[in-house]
Symmetry: C2
């Protein structure tokens, strides 16, 4: 049976402008692979309502799970929650459960739950809250979309909350073998090997280091024994060039 599929939607002008490096996708990609959920697509869109709504709708229809990152804070440019609501024709307003969580937090801090902070309690009708153990303001799940913060420590904490609740498939196992030979020399034998073990995927990721050409060959599949056997065969083929 095929594994569940997933997409990531990153909301962020700051990524598109080249100011900030997106690290959330890399983190989540690794976690999903471990969980046996196949990440099929990533999109980064700007802080623009139409773009966010359109991407949410198409990704939600196409994949089993969609994870969003960014745009759920208290400032005027935090528009993700409203966009997700709009994408599903859900109403959105300050919700009592989210407000109570924030109220308790700011009471403990001796700080005021002002209008800006109250924006973080705007949750679409029908959504389930996602706990935020780092900075309190919750994310939420609506339909198959998980809406999470952009701050990496908060994003990672929310991922840790959400992932164990999802049904994973067979975790993919993989090996990576570094072969210090040009891809042009590797390609022929590698294609033969890939044809022979056609239940596995064989990826070749070339590198150039100090002027020397090589490639990392990744063998991936859900049958760990087959992966091991194919990797052994690969190493035999290029034994003098494995580094």
């Amino acid at each position: 049976m095929a594994n569940p599929t997933a997409a990531v939607l990153v909301i962020g002008d700051e990524i598109l402008s080249g100011r900030t490096r997106d690290t959330n996708t890399y983190h989540l990609a690794g976690q999903l692979t471990e969980a046996g959920i196949d990440l099929k697509e990533v999109r980064v869109v700007s802080d623009d309502s139409d773009a966010i709504i359109a991407a949410t709708q198409i990704l939600s229809k196409t994949y089993d799970h969609v994870f969003t990152s960014g745009g759920i804070g208290p400032t005027h440019d935090d528009i993700t929650a409203d966009c997700i609501a709009a994408a599903f024709n859900a109403t959105i307003d300050v919700r009592d459960d989210a407000r109570a969580i924030l109220q308790a937090h700011y009471d403990r801090q001796g700080m005021e739950l002002n209008d800006a902070r109250l924006r973080m309690a705007r949750i679409p009708q029908g959504a389930t809250l996602i706990e935020n153990p780092v900075s309190t303001a919750p994310g939420f799940q609506l339909e198959n979309v998980y809406v999470m913060a952009g701050v990496p420590s908060v994003f990672q904490a929310m991922v840790a909350t959400v992932l164990p609740t999802l049904k994973g498939g067979a975790p993919l196992v993989s090996t990576s073998t570094r072969i210090e030979r040009g891809e042009g020399d590797i390609a022929g034998p590698l294609a033969d090997l890939a044809a022979r073990y056609n239940d596995l995927s064989f990826g070749s990721y070339p590198y150039i280091k100090n002027g020397v050409y090589g490639a990392n060959i990744v063998v991936r599949g859900s049958d760990s024994k087959a992966v091991a056997v194919a990797t052994r065969r690969l190493i035999d083929l290029f034994s003098d060039a494995v580094r």
Copy 2:
């Protein structure tokens, strides 16, 4: 007049599996911003023909320029060139100009231009070659799509070749001001400022460092004087918390 728009299409199972961190997008995003070209969307898709073709077609229609990364080497999993050709109904075969470039290179190296390496001379009809000063095998431009290698050093060299040929718009200038105060306190005055300078964009990117909350406020626009004035006003508003 609005700036030209762009999208990036990253082809790579290795990114989606979490094995490799995509660095090409970050590099290109910064370069595009400097050139006055607005990066509007990034997509990462798997090494799957249908996914690559569909993404190429929609991005090519939606944006002025599309830059792809990955999948143009000699191995069996390098399918980008064929997919780009298919996306535009162009034929594709080994082309004499590309073959000559590779032949000269491998002659110099005393290496054979074997069948695998010859795959890198498969160029769609009507495409223009993009020089590869690092490892020879060229990229190409077809319609408004620039097809470039995934290896970061090669990708960057190709970007350096292509970007000066594109017509840019007004380069956006931006300032980033670090304010060590919770976003909930910044949000109100910041929204007022954003409303007052509505030709500029104001982004708030929160952080938590050693348990202390703050945000980097980015002011961005094409009028550098207006950006400077608004940033000065921002600093005045939060003078005791600017770090």
